[in-house]
Symmetry: C2
Subunit: 482 residues, 2 copies
Amino acid sequence: MTEKLSRNPLPAMFNAETIAMVGASNNMDTMGSVLLMNNLKGGFVGRLYPVHPKEKEVMGLKAYKTVGDIPDVVDLAVICVPTKVVPDIIKDCGVKGVKNAVIISGGFRETGTDGKKLEEEILALAQSYGIRFLGPNCIGIINPYRNLNITTFPYFHGPGSLGLISQSGTYVTQVIDYLEQKGIRYSRAMSVGNQADLDLVDCIDYLGDDPETLAIAAYIEGIKRPRAFLEVARRVSIKKPVVALYVGGTEAGARSSATHTGAICAPNSLCSGLFNQAGVIEASTIEELYEWAWALATQPIPTGRRVAILTQSGGPAASLSDACEKYDLQVPIFSPELQDRLKPFVPPTGSYQNPVDLTYFRDIALMTEKMPRLILEDDGIDCLIIHGLMATSWLRVYDSDPETSEVSMEQMTDMMKGPSKKLAQLPKEYKKPVICSTFKGREIEVITKFLQDDEIPCFYGPEKAVSAIAALCHYGEIRRRM
Amino acid sequence: MTEKLSRNPLPAMFNAETIAMVGASNNMDTMGSVLLMNNLKGGFVGRLYPVHPKEKEVMGLKAYKTVGDIPDVVDLAVICVPTKVVPDIIKDCGVKGVKNAVIISGGFRETGTDGKKLEEEILALAQSYGIRFLGPNCIGIINPYRNLNITTFPYFHGPGSLGLISQSGTYVTQVIDYLEQKGIRYSRAMSVGNQADLDLVDCIDYLGDDPETLAIAAYIEGIKRPRAFLEVARRVSIKKPVVALYVGGTEAGARSSATHTGAICAPNSLCSGLFNQAGVIEASTIEELYEWAWALATQPIPTGRRVAILTQSGGPAASLSDACEKYDLQVPIFSPELQDRLKPFVPPTGSYQNPVDLTYFRDIALMTEKMPRLILEDDGIDCLIIHGLMATSWLRVYDSDPETSEVSMEQMTDMMKGPSKKLAQLPKEYKKPVICSTFKGREIEVITKFLQDDEIPCFYGPEKAVSAIAALCHYGEIRRRM
């Protein structure tokens, strides 16, 4: 493994100590400046060197006219300059001895024949100096474990276990708040752009060996090296789950991808066959891509498809049951023994056969520990879905009024930390996945926030929880098959 | 119509001026108290009379021992008392001359044989007094146009045009914040519970005639009167769209529904056939139910399936195109004339054939007015999807730092009102639907908030925007067929 890693330049890029930020200036309207600012404000742990032909100082850092002027070893050059300047910068990097680059600049293959020629030139140039690079026409990389964020969007919500590879910069950056709102956190994220040098396959290879990445999500518009993809994805899939969303197999999709990253696209069915052979789980929407990968990154893999449903509400119980059947999951009637154990907790208007419908509860531990424990220790159940954990979403409206609230928001928030930690312990203890469904977002409901932060996926809608459970089961079957 | 409406008691319930809140007390742990509080805090425009055997005053209002003691005509009785007391309350209402009730109390048909018997008794009793009622075992009703909210959850986000009917109280109440976050607002919402008297069909009939309801969403666990459903839903579907989610056709779903609202369920395929005959659009997830109905409530119905895509980002352009093809929508190449008109606005790295990918823009009017207008006035296009409108979501992180932001959050917020209003005008002007997709929620992005408030649907994910467009096209076909 050490030998293989030493050939893949991505570990060195994501662990760079010293970075030349070529194109950063004090003009905040340029991307190069935003890239530097994000890294500065994010608290990058290494050393940053702005490179600009005119600036003497950029955002409080001494600036250098060329990469060659930097009085330090440069582990990584981030290149965000006008297209026609890129070759000169690569030369500078080569002479300086820089071995790794991220080329943000666009205007290459995606713009037509001239651009394609220029892209081939910079590739040849880089190769002549032994430089490996991501891009061009990419949005950069994120390593939250080192506060490294060379993209145009801030990322502040902490390190996680999902490794993201994307042929679209948008799906790395524009989605950051969207992922935060779902409690999903990156271990690494990378935009591959035109894949002139390093491609999707190199990225899967890298994340396959990265210990902080527990599941991989890939947004794909076209696969350059199908054979290598199959080989690498198969090898990685045995170790950790790979989820992919393929877009580009349709006519308009292909038209869009061609002008986007210059990708050449195969029909959807061909790609699905490749994914299937490679042990890759295929998502059909961007939301599934992220949510399934997050479930796979955080939950144990079940050994069967028997799902228990625990709720305080009949509608979601019915929706969850219905969705389970659609996803070919079973919702078996609990054994008489388990029913006997659950019965004392359930009021007469509720039910406890599976789904469990509490209709109403006051003691949150019922749903975060007591009943989950009884259910998970039963041999007849492989997975648990919980819907309806709520504590503060209701309180927040009436909190200001002491006449109507016995407990303050602050007290309730404190009270919820324990139950969340206890529920988060159960998947590890019983080696069975637990996924929550709720309509109460983390901004308004602390139990949602705590569970998400404690790595229990909480998705917004019953069908989403079920589809994530189905993805977990699917991966279990892939693992057993391969 | 007047005659028919006069037979349906629901208009009178939703427009009640005087309401007896039976079961409200000063103990905030009871549902009856919460129902009253929601109505008080929501600013209900009529008169509220708490009824309780012991309290003299409840939340500042004079309380009455019985409904009969209320010195006013009572338009509606809300009954939230222990199961066994319900018959007595109905008698009191009958003697007082109350003609309409919402029975929140549970413990009837959904609990088994004895409960079923009791439910039949209260129905007979109500009929003997000429009382019509919703429930029992329901969560109540909401009419935001009159700040009427007889449910256990607060509803503060204003009146809209979506009429919701649900066999699950959860899908009326627990989802309120979830809907707010999507910018979706009720015209009316009602939970039908066990449907002992008034049922789903009466509700569809009512909303079909309600001028403030422009589309109807129904969550259904079982249809009591299939023949009446077909007749009424057909009649309504010709006037306004009806979207339904049916849950209960699977074994576990049926098990859950039986203990939930005592519904008897038909197989999914049977129900789909019924929906199809009735001109009802069938959703397959709770999110689709709300989002499709919201799109239908706010957007014109397209006359064809030709979709234009306008973005600043290649990934979403590819996803949108791909999803369109999956939903059997066309993404045609624009006519040479339209391409010529769009070209001047698109930078060389972008594209303008359809999808339009601006890659980057500074003038938001490009995406909210200039290009949408050119596209919508083209005869070759029936619908428009826009992805990537952003203004403040980025700013919010760096706003505090004058060195990095030329425009403050407040200024930017003000600047976005105009573009939002202008975009919101276009569907009306061109009679073609516009739907936005974004990853920037309304809490962090004012343009999302403004557009949602101005009734341009903004959904979180490209595939959701496409599926809503497909629902609009589907309804257009239903209308032309019927």
